[in-house]
């Protein structure tokens, strides 16, 4: 067990420890749990986008089975999400609607029954009398002073606005070329394989409320529940069991979680709610939906002198806790320059309230949209100066010699070689061959095009960065608890929540790197506030950097103790002993960890004095608080059928740098998965609403997701430039795939359409949008 396991540490292509239970269907999600007396919950949801609640009619025979906000009394406070950005307005998100409903799908009442079908039967017996109010659907319209109001007390529909100006006029003055574009990014759903779900009960033995919920952030959810329910945190335990994907959707406290917790508190029997796909599409939080106006001021070679941005985010009716309604715009403001040198910068942002579900930080948060806007505008700049877009982009990237680089918005880019990244992508996709093929034309009449997008991925941001975004819950030192067993097995306890990131494998690889214990003998415990140290959770591509750093630091501390015991057993000075290959090596002999572990647990008389226990917790922060900044380039070649508007991806290259790679297969999985979601945004996914705020996609028949047939083979190339500031030089990699794909694909489509004079500046690039763009350009040419 303590023998050295070569090739299983950092950098190894180790098969995942999680695979067996998932591939055999033996994992335990919220929906898999059975408990005696468990009742299922169905929510009655608002059919209208904006209305005053006149009456909720509950048949008297359903008493005790149907609950509304009136039943809460003063026991449940609404979810309130502060943000310290000046001018930010608070919007209370009630667990069950109170007074008004502000979106279709807002929970109004909950019904409990032994089965979900019967609970849904109960919902249908409840009558809602609603008085319709004017609906706010379009964010640009909502910004107008005469718009109807989502929150009357706001006086307008703006959660918050920001204005940034860094030497803009001064830098823009010298511009020879000015290019302006307007972009519309569709609202999308996040659609994890497992929807949201929660199961709550009162644990009489522990005198605790237990909320078992499908979440990425069990510790913050505990704090949020405590606030809403007016309880001490110590009386609440939050457990995230197996979680089937989150992508940001499960990074907030949901009203339904508060409702289930209240039911368990008051009813004292277990209750469960399982979100179904229809609820997810209609009622659950959404993402994206930006309107962005970008103006680039450049010199005659296309070098950017100044960037002017107006960014409007449709945030929906409420603020997501804890990230707040400001996250989308404050991130857009600071990240817009991306990988490029921007001397002068002006940015106005608007976080707008509408009668739609709230926007949450979906994989990449604002960045997929701002990357798309930036790259497509740079394509237009290149054409305005008559140059190859890829070359213009190359010249505008932050050069490697400038690292570490402070951006115009004050962000610190820690390391890397952005031009080499794009250059490699240009070479790997074969840009010159595609240009030759474009000149020759396609035998089938289709048009081919190539698109490039270079992104930065601001991962593992620290407390100062989060605080600067005004967010109330910020990450502190990340902790890991390590417990060496008598059999020399290792248990790692972390407060992050692996919900598809393979942390049970990669954290074991990091511990193995230091301690030499075989990953097969290392278990990772995560997602349970009762038994893991506090963490803000698995968000912002931070877990491998931060929890990995914590595991690394704690492993080193444990290794020191192991070495001390080993030296003591070997009878040598501590300085003469060294942990290597799963044993402590002394000058003449070695003692395996297993023997040390046994002595530690069972033979205290053999231990050196004051050695401490075989369990310890250490905290870790990176050397800088500004995050580990990964980056990458997506290069895409597409063929567009100008008669049908169909798009086929012919080749897809990703070149990326997430610093030291802990497990290449896991990183590749992150890239492919993120790219698949980016392909969805680029070509398929869209949650439209009619003028009454009714969602027009309520099943996966209407809301198209890319499937296996729509995701091509993605050719991935890694550059491994370690971060100078993090343990082992690791940078996060969870969001890059989703950041790169939309803009690269739409850019490639525009490249293909260029001979027709057509240009698309909206997502998704549906056949209809493409055919409309072609038609409008033809009609424009005729006029």
């Amino acid at each position: 067990m303590t023998s050295q396991a070569p090739g299983k540490g950092i950098g190894a292509r180790l098969l995942r420890k999680e695979d067996a239970r998932h591939l055999h269907g033996r994992a335990g999600f919220v929906g898999d749990i059975s408990m005696p007396g468990l009742m299922e919950v169905a929510f009655l949801r608002s059919p209208l986008a904006h209305a005053r609640i006149r009456r909720i009619g509950i048949p008297p025979e359903l008493a005790g089975q149907v609950f509304t906000a009136a039943d809460f009394g003063t026991a449940v406070k609404p979810i309130r999400t502060p943000n310290s950005t000046p001018g930010y307005k608070l919007s209370d998100f009630p667990a069950l609607a109170t007074g008004k409903v502000r979106m279709v799908g807002e929970p109004v009442a909950m019904c409990i029954s032994p089965t979900r079908a019967e609970a849904e039967d109960l919902c249908q017996q409840v009558t809602l009398e609603l008085e319709e109010l004017p609906v706010v659907v379009d964010a640009l319209r909502a910004r107008q002073p005469d718009s109807a109001l989502v929150h009357e007390e706001f006086g307008d529909n703006l959660f918050v606005t920001t204005v940034t100006d860094v030497r803009f006029e001064e830098c823009a003055a010298g511009a020879e070329v000015v290019v302006r574009r307007e972009f519309d990014l569709a609202r999308v759903a996040m659609v994890p394989m497992e929807g949201k779900g929660a199961l709550a009960w009162w644990d009489e033995g522990a005198d605790q409320l237990v909320v078992c919920t499908s979440t990425q952030i069990p510790h913050p959810v505990r704090g949020g529940l405590a606030t809403c329910l007016g309880m001490d945190e110590s009386r609440i335990r939050v457990i995230a069991p197996d979680v089937g994907g989150g992508f940001g959707f499960k990074s907030m406290l949901q009203p339904e979680e508060v409702c289930l917790a209240w039911l368990a508190l008051t009813r004292r029997h277990p209750v469960r709610w399982t979100e179904d796909v229809r609820e997810h599409l209609l009622a659950a939080a959404k993402a994206r939906e930006h309107h962005t106006v970008v103006t680039v001021h450049a010199d005659r070679r296309g070098r950017i002198l100044a960037l002017d941005v107006e960014f409007t985010a449709d945030i929906g009716a409420y603020s997501a806790w804890p990230v707040s309604a400001a996250l989308e715009i404050v991130q857009a403001r600071s990240n817009f320059p991306g990988a490029y040198v921007i001397p002068g910068y002006r940015c106005r942002t608007y976080a707008v309230a509408t009668n739609k579900p709230p926007v949450k930080p979906y994989r990449g948060v604002a960045r997929p949209g701002i990357c798309l806007a930036m790259e497509l505008t740079l394509d237009a700049v290149a054409h305005a100066v008559g140059r190859e877009p890829a070359e213009v982009k190359l010249e505008n990237l932050v050069p490697a010699a400038a690292m570490p680089y402070k951006s115009v918005t004050g962000m610190l880019y820690d390391s890397g070689d952005y031009p080499r990244c794009l250059g490699t992508a240009i070479e790997k996709i074969g840009l010159s061959q595609w240009r030759a093929r474009q000149r020759a034309g396609e035998p089938d009449g289709r048009l081919v095009g190539v698109g490039f997008l270079t992104y930065i991925e601001t991962t593992a941001l620290g407390a100062a960065r989060w605080a600067a975004m005004g967010i109330a819950v910020v990450p502190g030192p990340e902790r890991a608890t390590l417990r060496l067993g008598a059999d020399a097995s290792l248990e790692i306890r972390v407060g992050v929540k692996s919900h598809g990131q393979s942390l049970e494998t990669t954290l074991a690889q990091i511990a193995h790197e230091i301690l030499g214990i075989d990953p097969a003998d290392i278990s990772v415990v995560h997602g349970d506030t009762g038994i893991t140290p506090y963490s803000i959770g698995t968000i912002n591509s931070r877990s491998i950097t931060m929890a990995g750093g914590a595991v690394s630091r704690t492993s080193q501390a444990l290794a020191e103790r192991i070495q001390r015991i080993g030296a003591h057993l070997l009878g040598c000075a501590p300085g003469e002993a060294r942990l290597a290959g799963g044993a402590v090596q002394g000058p003449g002999a070695a003692v395996p960890i297993r023997e040390i572990a046994q002595a530690w647990h069972a033979r205290p008389q053999d231990l050196p004095p004051d050695i401490g226990g075989p369990e310890l917790t250490e905290g870790y922060t990176s050397q800088v608080d500004s995050g580990a900044v990964g980056y990458g380039t997506h290069a895409v070649a597409v063929a567009v059928d100008p008669e049908t508007g169909a798009v086929e991806i012919l080749d897809y290259v990703v070149v990326e740098d997430c610093g030291t790679v802990v497990n290449p297969m896991v990183v590749d999985g992150q890239i492919v998965g993120g790219t698949a979601q980016g392909i969805g945004m680029a070509l398929y996914e869209e949650m439209p609403y009619d003028i009454f705020g009714q969602p027009l996609a309520s099943t996966l028949g209407d809301y198209l997701l890319p499937g296996a047939a729509e995701v091509p083979r993605i050719r991935i190339y890694h550059m491994e430039i370690p971060s100078p500031y993090t343990a082992h030089g690791i940078k996060g990699c969870g969001e890059g795939g989703a950041l790169g794909a939309p803009g690269a694909i739409v850019g490639a489509i525009n490249d293909a359409l260029r001979p027709l004079g057509a240009e698309l500046n909206a997502t998704p690039a549906t056949p209809r949008r493409i055919l409309d763009a072609i038609r409008h350009s033809r009609e424009g040419a005729k006029r």
């Binding site: 089965t115 979900r116 079908a117 849904e120 039967d121 249908q124 179904d276 796909v277 229809r278 609820e279 008669e643 049908t644 508007g645 169909a646 398929y684 099943t699 028949g701 198209l704 890319p706 499937g707 047939a709 729509e710 549906t766 056949p767 209809r768 055919l771 409309d772 038609r775």
Partner: protein, 275 residues
């Protein structure tokens, strides 16, 4: 998203199924359940009784009677996809079947269920219009036969009465020299098509047929276009000519829909003439 309560019967034969339909208030037939299942879960359909006919053996057969192929209503898409029949008719049926949704759905979904549901974007209604199929409808007083052109009355509306069921489909086999084209414009694998063009050229039987499908209602034939394609081949299938024919036969399409349907028809014609 769980169904409301319903009763369920699994009759042994067609007669018993018809009797069960006649006896119940709001009965629905259940065949493959690939559409009805989700509709029940969404509570868009709330029948008091489900009459499960999927295992009635007589409805699951494919028989050849002289030059007529008789396909039982409960034959699955997968069964038609997998059939070893290299005749033009066999290949056409297999091609159409293979394009429907995903294999998991094709394993359960039935040709009769698809026709009886009459979703305008479904493939079988267009394919059967193309093949000029006759549909056998069973009721209390026996079976009657209806040509495809009279079967579908509009979107999700057919000639099947409340106490009747679709028992089978009769297709006249194409001659060995015939050729066909079938082109769907589709957002992604597994989706319903946005437009379908379908063409048969069977000079032996002096027959040429062009159908445009995935409209607001039933698919429509384009006889004049079919005639000129039979006479002049691909030369008659310029996009403008096809577009004009589609616009006339299916008024009310917006410019994008018209273009998409015209392209589907034109590409089906080019497939059929072998270009």
């Amino acid at each position: 998203m769980k169904p409301a309560a319903f009763h369920y019967v699994r009759p042994a034969d067609t007669g018993a199924a018809v009797a069960a339909l006649a006896a119940a208030g709001e009965a629905r037939l259940l065949a493959g359940g690939q559409t009805l299942g989700p509709m029940l879960n969404l509570r868009l359909a709330r029948p008091s009784l489900l009459v499960d006919i999927a295992r009635i053996e007589a409805l699951r057969r494919i028989e050849r009677r002289a030059s007529t192929l008789v396909i039982g209503a409960c034959v699955t898409h997968a069964a038609l996809e997998d059939r070893a029949d290299s005749s033009p008719t066999g290949r056409l049926l297999a091609h159409v079947a293979s394009g429907i949704a995903y294999r998991a759905i094709r394993n359960f979904g039935t040709i009769g269920g698809s026709l009886a549901h009459a979703d305008p974007a479904a493939d079988w209604i267009t394919a059967m219009m193309l093949l000029d199929a006759r549909l056998r409808i069973a009721g209390a007083s026996g079976e009657r036969s209806v040509p495809m052109v009279e079967f579908m009355k509009g979107a999700f509306t057919t000639d099947i009465g409340p106490a009747e069921l679709l028992a089978g489909i009769e297709v006249e086999e194409l001659s060995p020299q015939s050729s066909w084209g079938y082109y769907r414009v589709c957002r992604k694998v597994g989706e319903f098509p946005d437009a379908v063009g379908a063409v048969i050229l069977d000079p032996e039987r002096s027959m040429a047929r062009v159908v445009v499908g995935a409209l607001d209602g039933a698919p429509v034939q384009l006889p004049a276009l079919a005639e000129s394609v039979a006479a002049q081949g691909a030369g008659a299938a310029g996009l403008e000519a096809v577009s004009a024919a589609v616009a006339q036969a299916a008024p009310g399409l917006d410019p994008v829909e018209l273009q998409t349907h015209a392209v589907a028809v034109r590409r089906a014609i080019l497939q059929a003439v072998g270009k």
